[in-house]
């Protein structure tokens, strides 16, 4: 029982890390209907920028602010160069464009900052501590707190600010929002900037766990089943989906792994998501779209 709890909690907490990546996806998908395949590349780009700036002697907060500024600039460039010319194209063209963007960002990040694996120490000790006999990782708890904080900030931002309201309007109906005079391009730039900031946070946390390296770009793929479970358009869904995926994949690895031969972590979340889709095609918290397939 104790072992089960330990695996479960470890899974839940690592799921939070997936949620962080999924969050960036949801933000962009919600506001612009673009399935941003490049989120993982943005995570890599952000983390590499931060580490490299720090290496070049910037203080920690300076590096943080500078990389935040760079992510904002990147969002503006992406909106201007990639999204604006592709307005009104079918979703698959936009998906393809973000796949192209992935190559661009990966090349850019590693071309500018080098492709050596870099360590990142956030100064949070990664020693497990004991809660009634169950070992819990301190670092994971910290990550969970950060994720919770981010979601709270985003929720408040969406709910109570003028820009947030514009975002929700755009998410609801592009054309209606446009005809009300909401500047679509500004909204997109804001959303990509927010996604960039989320990518920076995710990059720092993942980077200090795995080292800042190319593999960061691949964690996007772990966020996809999270999205399916939670629904593409729900911030809360990203969190809950992340928890579900994290917990189930660890439990599956521990309990089913020995039977099936190990390494099932890679596909188990997808199959879970697939089965889930058969029951509830719009995800846990996704908007119900009434169309027959």
């Amino acid at each position: 029982m104790q072992f089960f709890l330990e695996v479960l909690i470890g899974g839940l907490l690592s799921g939070v890390m997936y949620s962080l990546v999924a969050l960036g996806f949801v933000l962009i998908f919600k506001a612009s209907g673009v399935f941003n395949f490049a989120q993982g590349a943005m995570v890599l780009f952000a983390a590499l920028t931060f580490v490299s700036l720090e290496e070049r002697g910037l203080p920690r907060w300076g590096a943080l602010l500078a990389s935040l500024a760079i992510m904002l600039g990147l969002a503006l460039v992406i909106e201007r160069v990639v999204l604006r010319p592709l307005v009104n194209q079918p979703a698959i063209s936009l998906l393809m464009a973000t796949i192209g963007l992935t190559f661009c960002l990966e090349g850019l990040a590693q071309g500018v900052w080098g492709s050596v694996v870099k360590g990142l120490d956030l100064g949070i000790p990664d020693v497990p501590f004991d809660v009634k006999g169950v070992l819990v990782s301190q670092f994971d708890l910290f990550a969970a707190a950060i994720a919770g904080f981010l979601v709270a900030v985003l929720a408040l931002f969406f709910q109570y600010t003028r820009v947030g309201r514009a975002l929700r309007a755009v998410a609801d109906d592009h054309q209606a929002a446009l005809s009300l005079g909401i500047p679509l391009q500004t909204v997109w730039a804001v959303v990509w900037a927010a996604a960039g900031a989320v990518a920076l946070v995710a990059g720092l946390l993942w980077g200090s766990r795995l080292g800042v390296q190319f593999a960061l770009s691949v964690i996007t793929l772990k966020a996809l089943p999270v999205l399916i479970l939670g629904g593409f358009t729900s911030i809360a869904g990203a969190i809950v989906g992340g928890l579900l995926v994290g917990a189930s994949e660890k439990l599956a690895e521990v309990y089913l792994g020995p039977v099936l031969g190990g390494g099932i972590e890679n596909w188990f979340p997808y199959v879970l998501a697939l089965l889930f889709l058969l029951v509830r095609p719009e995800g846990l918290f996704g908007e119900k779209h009434i169309d027959r397939v």
């Binding site: 592709l86 192209g100 090349g107 031969g261 998501a273 889709l277 397939v293």
Partner: protein, 355 residues
């Protein structure tokens, strides 16, 4: 002036239903086939044949497969490489366990295996569509990759996981030199491309296109959704499966699940989009573009920058330019290279007059 159908009257239904209704098209296609089947094997250099043409043709076949699914039937898939892997391993298995089965039949059977697997993984398409489906097909990609790596029966219990493909023999003739392998690939690809061209203008293809354009309307006019969608998945996977088998036997020569990872799926998807959705010609153009680009980029880059670049930078610049070109193409011509060819044809028809 040159490319004009004026004066070419169709006097029979047969003539009206030809694949290439215009004489000039038939001449060009005939000439191309002549060059491909006769001139290239005779005079083509080994580099041209084995490093360019063979991978291009095989990837064109896979692209054609995905194009049937995505371009004609409107179902996204990110699991192409998974189905290619099924074909590759099935062909290996048939050659290994049933040596009596001739090679070509083994290829066909491996395609059939991939079709079966594809139909199973196509089942979610009956419930979901769009991006959700794309993500769902990723499940097939990862699951198949895992299954082929983990279950020893598929790899014949080889310890390294990488196995050499058996030498190819057709009717006592060893297919071991680049020209012979090229001819085998070319024959298979040409046959399947012709079949695809006929398929998409027949009943099946029209049903797929109806589903793509509006599924509710398609169902209302009596197109069975289940059969149509699953047949699209099956046919598409068949093509991918044969492409996977060819890739392993005629190109790389070793059976390795790593050759069919997600990158391959994305690569094939890129080829479909760059080439043009819903176009057989586009599949070939798109595959050509993506195969040729990485071969030309390094030489172009080193010609431009010389040796001024620090080592290790080049692959990153390549990656950047590759991505930028994809975006550029999408912005300039969202409907792909096939559309450019259409525009050219329109222009040629009027030439030398502007209108």
């Amino acid at each position: 002036m040159l490319y004009r159908e004026a004066g070419q009257f169709k006097t029979s239904y047969r003539a009206d239903q030809r694949i290439f209704p215009i004489l000039q098209d038939r001449v060009v296609v005939g000439a191309l086939l002549l060059v491909a089947f006769v001139a290239v094997p005779l005079w083509g250099s080994e580099y041209l044949v084995s490093a360019l043409l063979i991978p291009w043709l095989i990837l064109s076949l896979a692209t054609l497969g995905l194009n049937i699914l995505t371009g004609y039937a409107g179902q996204f898939s990110l699991g192409t490489a998974g189905f290619m892997a099924v074909g590759a391993f099935a062909a290996y298995g048939f050659q290994l366990r049933t040596p009596a089965v001739p090679l070509l039949l083994a290829f066909v059977l491996s395609g059939v295996c991939a079709a079966g697997v594809g139909a199973v993984f196509g089942l979610p398409s009956l419930r979901i569509k769009g991006m959700y489906l794309a993500v769902a097909t990723l499940a097939s990609q990862f699951f198949i990759e895992w299954l082929l790596t983990r279950v020893g029966w598929f790899t014949n219990y080889s310890s390294s996981g990488v196995i050499n493909a058996q030498p190819m023999v057709i009717a006592g003739l060893a297919i071991n030199t680049p020209p012979r392998r090229y001819l085998l690939v070319l024959a298979v690809v040409a046959t399947l491309a012709l079949a695809a061209k006929n398929l998409v203008r027949g009943r099946a293809g029209r049903a797929w296109m109806a589903v793509r354009d509006m599924d509710v309307a398609a169902e209302v006019i009596g197109i069975p959704m289940l059969r149509t969608k699953l047949s699209a998945f099956a046919v598409s996977s068949f093509y991918c499966g044969v492409a996977g088998a060819l890739w392993v036997f005629a190109h790389v020569g070793s059976v390795d699940p790593q050759a069919f990872d997600l990158t391959r799926s994305l690569q094939v998807l890129t080829m479909v989009i760059i080439g043009g959705l819903g176009s057989v010609l586009g599949s070939f153009l798109g595959a050509g573009f993506i195969v040729l680009l990485p071969l030309f980029l390094p030489s172009v880059l080193s010609a431009v920058f010389g040796t001024a670049l620090r080592p290790g930078l080049l692959p990153n610049i390549e990656s950047f330019i590759f991505g930028a070109l994809i975006i550029f193409f999408l912005i300039v011509e969202p409907q792909g290279l096939a559309r450019l060819w259409q525009v050219t044809k329109e222009k040629l028809r009027l030439w030398p007059f502007p209108h």
